[in-house]
């Protein structure tokens, strides 16, 4: 797979504060990558830097062969869709349909193209029931779907999401993950989302764990879960069933991770 986004020795932060130093990693085309890190560790700053809103302190970001510089900024952001953390502040209109098409109207697309795009995006983001609603009347779950739809309506190469699961329960998180998978598969868009919750990364293939200003580990869910002690040291909470399974595995009492209590009891006392 080709690399879509390449970070080379990127330092992230503000003039007098470096949050991440010398970050280097690649994001392949058509993938979903989760960046897992504890609260207050600079998730938002990293997403703002990758989206071009903030400047990196040093190092480089290359997206789709375009290096982010002042000169290339416009070309760079054309390929970026972004959903920031504070969901309520990102709405420009007060109607779902207007909100979603706003980027296209702004870019001067004609009506027939806009209608085609909105039809596709409505299906992919499961917006049928809320397309004519007012933004004020939406739940957090629906608001996130609208923001995602609005961010990908111009079909960027990459979608960046800053902690999209923060205000969602587990069921809603799973539904959003399904929508992200739809986007990846149908629109050929790579996705990066940050999170502090271990439950948001279960079964993902690409996970980068950040902490203490650097990359702590990188791999798929199974690789990451093996290092539960390091995750705990970072302050990342492991769901109790996974924690219990891992501890029982350590004492050779269980072979695999078990997600329900009945299953654990049956496996322990066959």
């Amino acid at each position: 797979m080709n690399n879509l986004l390449v970070l080379d020795n990127l330092s992230v932060g503000y003039k007098d504060l470096t949050i991440y130093k010398d970050l280097s990693f690649n994001i392949a085309e058509n993938t979903i990558t989760s960046i897992l890190c504890p609260n207050n560790s600079g998730k938002s700053t990293l997403i703002k830097t990758l989206s071009g809103i903030n400047c990196g302190l040093c190092g480089s970001i290359v997206l789709n062969n375009v290096k982010l510089t002042k000169r290339s900024f416009k070309k760079y952001i054309r390929d970026v869709g972004v959903v920031l953390e504070d969901i309520d502040r990102q709405f420009i209109t007060n109607n779902v349909k207007d909100e979603i098409i706003f980027p296209l109207v702004n870019l001067g697309y004609n009506k027939s193209v806009i209608d085609k795009h909105i039809e596709d995006i409505t299906k992919i983001c499961e917006l049928d029931n809320i397309l004519n609603k007012k933004i004020d009347s939406l739940s957090n779950y629906d608001k996130i779907k609208v923001l995602i739809a609005s961010s990908i309506i111009h079909f960027p190469k990459i979608l960046l999401l800053d902690d999209p699961f923060r205000f969602l329960n587990l069921k809603e998180q799973k539904k959003i993950l399904n929508i992200l998978n739809n986007i990846k598969n149908n629109c050929n868009i790579s996705i990066i989302f940050t999170t502090s919750q271990f439950s948001s990364i279960i079964d993902l293939d690409n996970i980068i764990v950040l902490g203490n200003g650097k990359i702590i580990m990188q791999g798929n869910y199974k690789d990451i879960i093996k290092k539960d002690n390091e995750l705990s040291k970072l302050g990342i909470e492991i769901p109790i069933m996974i924690d219990l399974s891992l501890k029982l595995q350590f004492y050779s009492l269980l072979d695999d991770i078990c997600y329900d209590v009945g299953g654990i009891v049956d496996k322990l006392w066959k």
């Binding site: 504890p38 609260n39 207050n40 938002s44 953390e85 969901i87 309520d88 957090n140 902690d163 923060r166 205000f167 329960n169 502090s196 919750q197 705990s232 302050g235 990342i236 909470e237 109790i240 069933m241 924690d243 219990l244 501890k247 029982l248 004492y251 009492l253 209590v261 009945g262 654990i264 009891v265 049956d266 322990l268 006392w269």
Partner: protein, 229 residues
Amino acid sequence: MEIILRNNFNYRKKIDVEEGTIISLQVTNFKAIISNLIDDYRFVNIDNSQVYFLGENVYEEINLYSNTYNLNLIKDIFDIFGLNDSFFDNKIEDLSYTERVYLNIIRNLSLGNKKILFYDVYNYLDYANQKKIKNLLLYLKEKKYTIFITSKDVNVLYKLADYSILWNKNNFDYGKTDDLYTNVEKILKFNLEVPVLSLITYKALKNKNVKLFYSKDVRDVIKDIYKHV
């Protein structure tokens, strides 16, 4: 202290609450019960997506909220949260999620009400911040605050609360957390959630005739399992 609770099925319950205790609520509809408590209890929503700040910076926000705030209390909470005076100067718009949680708690506690309701007490906080909230609860307990807590995660309620309320329609019980949450049959009968560690002990006995001890600590449960496998 006597409290009358009412749910939206119009069932009323009267409970005696001691000062300096943490009481968990595991109920099927928070809204009716919370609306019942909200007259007397300061409502602190940890999920601050619905919380609005009016000040430009932290200092202004705390001042706006309370003109009679207790400086010693604020100083103690700053210590518990590991904040220093420079936090006062932070602009509201620059605060991270966790810092907003801190500020929301500080401004609510600075009002001086000793009856507090923490809604979704550990919502989206990592271990380090959960520990800070726990330390705050212990501090408030010591200062004789009466604290109600709710959480999406019943395991959190089991760990934190001294007393618990279980309430689904006309099924109601109030008592010590250790007693209530080890009576798994009753929780299941009420159609409410059972903490994972209690459920393992219960299922081990019921399904496999293995007698484990009830414990809130995962390590103790594992030691006990190890002895019995």
